[in-house]
Symmetry: C2
Subunit: 239 residues, 2 copies
DNA sequence: CCGGCGGGTTGCGCCAGCGCAAATTCAGGC
DNA sequence: GCCTGAATTTGCGCTGGCGCAACCCGCCGG
């Protein structure tokens, strides 16, 4: 099994407050696994055999409704923990995790979790913070879906992606993994048609540039203003 | 300070796996507080001074958008933990908690959390499960808002309320605390008008009976079928 | 170099549900 | 018993965004 250098992961939130020795002990139980682009790490409904840390690449967590429609729960960025189903009391994964780029994950058997937590309680505390942060994000999403129009929701989603996984390029900031209109639709609760129209309009205004599975935000600040602006703001008066 | 009998709370998920002695030690740090109907337990943005367990009554957790609109995050039922902001790494409460009925809460100072967790690691593990469960619920809500029409969302919300806080009455199951059309609208991302129309229609079909701040579900099963039914189901073919 | 296919774009018509407004009802307080 | 205000109901018109359908484009494999 490939050894993992503890210095690579020492700064991850999951391992906050642990000594190097502790970290080595924990890492000794992990395997490092390569996941090819578009391959699943695990699938919704499957026995939650492992939990993971993403070392390299990008992973999409998606959830299928009983009726068969899909939504995207989140994109996992490098260094984040995912698949912690057992830790939150689930026997099966509640979502599917798919690599959207060639990726590398660290995997621990779920069975190791209770033992690790007992020996290193900081793991539970750290995971609690992570899960708490996700809960906040999910609530934010519910708020946006309840109160904002589609264009703003898309703007917010894009800004979040840029913040989380933006890569500086020539003319702006590019989202650092392949993402389709359909994906954005599934993140914002709309259709790929509407996303396409919206991006086209923004492209016309010079806010973004996009092509297949690729989006570059040219004017993050203008996009931000669009996302935040008050729809009332004195736009309605007749000359 | 009023003493709390440990037998009253021994079965709560938060205290799973703790001995009676441990429980007494933990309870000795709590105060019991009465909160009058329509009074806040804490408010969004306020310093997270305490965390709570609801002993009696019902509490609504709501969140205001930057633009000033409100959504309802959830209703807290008896025995549930809430206000655990500090435990998930927040300095301030992310939402407002309001008693919707005369209620009684147990309150611990947030400062006690790290010490309690150190001494009783089960607290962290139990809270992790609770927060994880809420994350699942929130994801379910996102899925519903993304893929379901308003009527089904309202049906699902009602069924959840009935399950969580239903009280058997003469003709059906009543939601055991005052809840307005507006409240349901804020839970499902719609308007009070649409909720009103929907409930009126259901009342016409004998599924529910409702009046001011009161809803009785007469036919839970029919409501469930309505919530789950496939809109496609062979209704559209041309001869 | 070619063909096919997975994305992406765009025009068109429609409708669920919203916004507005007015009327009605009910629960308390006085 | 009356008054007030909050909660609810309901009609009406409008529109954001969806569904459909046709079409385009660029990448990849052969």
């Amino acid at each position: 099994m490939a050894k993992v250098d503890s210095s690579l992961v020492a700064d991850l939130p999951l391992f906050a407050g642990l000594s190097t020795a502790d970290l080595d002990a924990i890492l000794s139980e992990a395997r490092s696994v390569r996941v090819a682009k578009n391959s699943p790490v695990f699938e919704q409904g499957e026995e939650a055999h492992s939990f993971f840390v993403l070392l390299h690449g990008h992973v999409r967590a998606s959830k299928a409704t009983p009726a068969g429609e899909q939504i995207i729960v989140r994109y996992v960025a490098t260094g984040e923990t995912f698949g912690v189903a057992k830790a939150i009391g689930l026997q099966r994964y509640p979502a599917t995790a798919t690599a959207v780029d060639d990726s590398v994950v660290l995997a621990w058997p779920s069975g190791a979790w209770p033992r690790l937590v007992e020996k290193f309680p900081a793991l539970a505390a750290n995971t609690l913070q992570t899960v708490g942060a996700r809960l906040q994000e999910s609530h934010t999403r519910v708020m946006e879906m309840s109160t904002e129009q589609v264009e703003k929701r898309i703007a917010h989603a894009l800004l979040r992606l840029v913040k989380q996984s933006g890569r500086k390029v020539e003319h702006g900031i590019e989202i650092d993994f392949p993402i389709s209109r359909q994906d954005i639709a599934q993140m914002t609760g709309t259709t790929l048609h509407t996303v396409s129209r919206t991006l086209s309009a923004w492209e016309g205004k010079g806010l973004v540039e996009s092509s297949r599975q690729k989006i570059v935000v040219i004017e993050p600040h203008k996009l931000f203003m669009l996302a935040e602006e008050n729809p009332e703001a004195g736009s309605s008066f007749k000359p």
